[in-house]
Symmetry: C2
Subunit: 208 residues, 2 copies
DNA sequence: TATTATATACAAACATGAATGTATGTAAAT
DNA sequence: ATTTACATACATTCATGTTTGTATATAATA
């Protein structure tokens, strides 16, 4: 039974991505062979090489599957439409951070992908520009945060002399750290349960 | 010319560690072969296997070379002796964070090691417990920060209702994020020059 | 509509290279 | 005389990329 229909092929492709994610999580990207991925997906390396040029392309496919949705979410949660943006911008920031954590908490796929990206991957050669992509994406997030903080200052929600840009960067660094710790704390004893509370603390620190 | 003196052997060992660090930085831990490390250190794999059991042990040796000094530094910079600790604890925290960044800035070896550990290593199998070590070390740092913040509150240096524990955790997450970004920003355009300023911002946010 | 042609979605086989660990050899320090 | 501090040689395993084979879905044609 070869030559499946287009839908079947799409399913196969997705199963390969799923298998890759699981194997990457178990053994790390480098130590996972395409043979292992294929076996785990109940296909042969032939199928893998048909759908992806090599391991790097497969990695990128896995990454974009969760990366793109998160970016899309950013504008909605963080800024909203023109009317909404003036209502409780500080609360919006809090909500955005909290909902990101909640996605990690609820969605095993997203969580696994983040864990792979943060602790089971070496950013060299073909993977090096992923880091650049992450960094440039950070700039975007900081910019959005800055806008939100600016609104918060306008309506007098913030109780500090610091600029919106400074507040935004501090929040971004805080959240980067939180994400890293949250993901690395696989036992869940140090950060998993306290993340939302830590976000509240961080926001409260700048409330009037 | 074989069988060097003990000092020569120690030198050889150090050169292997240095070579490993440089190769890890270039190609990542997984993609660096012991042969490449040996060649880069102008020895053969025989020498490498003589000094280290395998790549993992070599990695640990590289790591501890910069990891241990940083831990030692913590008590001094952050808490100091009993007399000093009551003088400007907030400034001490700031100084501790700033000096850590400065070490990264000045010491190429430390910087390279951190870059390897954060972006060129997969924490699986033999490397998995390194993460645990990092996490448990974080707990230690947070505890020290908490003590410092408690002092700061005692002498009325802090202008917020939040507890010392909350402030400490927020600072720790901020600094984790900063370290990650700083190290990943190899171009130096986004964080390298602004790190000290970002630390000041973070500290100012909790000043009375 | 039935037939044919072609591209698709893989499986299987092949060829190559590279990394690891170990075992052995050896010259000099102790 | 015996370790020490390596270099050299050997054996094995494993991952990758490519090539070839093939059954079938799908498009083309008549």
């Amino acid at each position: 039974m070869v030559r499946k229909t287009k839908e079947d092929a799409a399913i196969t492709r997705q199963r390969i991505i799923d298998a890759a994610r699981e194997m990457f999580l178990q053994k790390g990207v480098s130590r996972t062979s395409l043979e292992q991925i294929a076996t785990h997906a109940s296909v042969t390396r032939g199928a893998v090489y048909w759908h992806f040029q090599n391991k790097a392309e497969l990695f990128h496919a896995m990454r974009e599957e969760v990366y793109l949705p998160l970016i899309d979410r950013m504008d909605d949660t963080l800024l909203g439409n023109a009317d909404e943006s003036t209502i409780d911008p500080l609360g919006r920031i809090r909500k955005h951070l909290a909902s990101t954590i909640q996605i990690l908490d609820n969605d095993q796929t997203t969580r696994a992908t983040y864990e792979v990206m943060m602790t089971k991957c070496e950013y060299v050669d073909e993977f090096a520009d992923v880091l650049k992509s992450i960094l440039s994406n950070c700039s975007g997030l900081v910019h959005k945060l800055e806008q939100a903080y600016a609104k918060a200052q306008e309506i007098g929600q913030v109780g500090t002399q610091l600029s919106a840009a400074e507040l935004a960067m501090d929040t971004h660094l805080f959240f980067s750290g939180l994400l890293h710790m949250w993901v690395k704390d696989t036992e869940g004893t140090l950060f998993r349960d306290r993340a939302l509370q830590l976000i509240d603390t961080h926001i409260n620190l700048r409330k009037k």
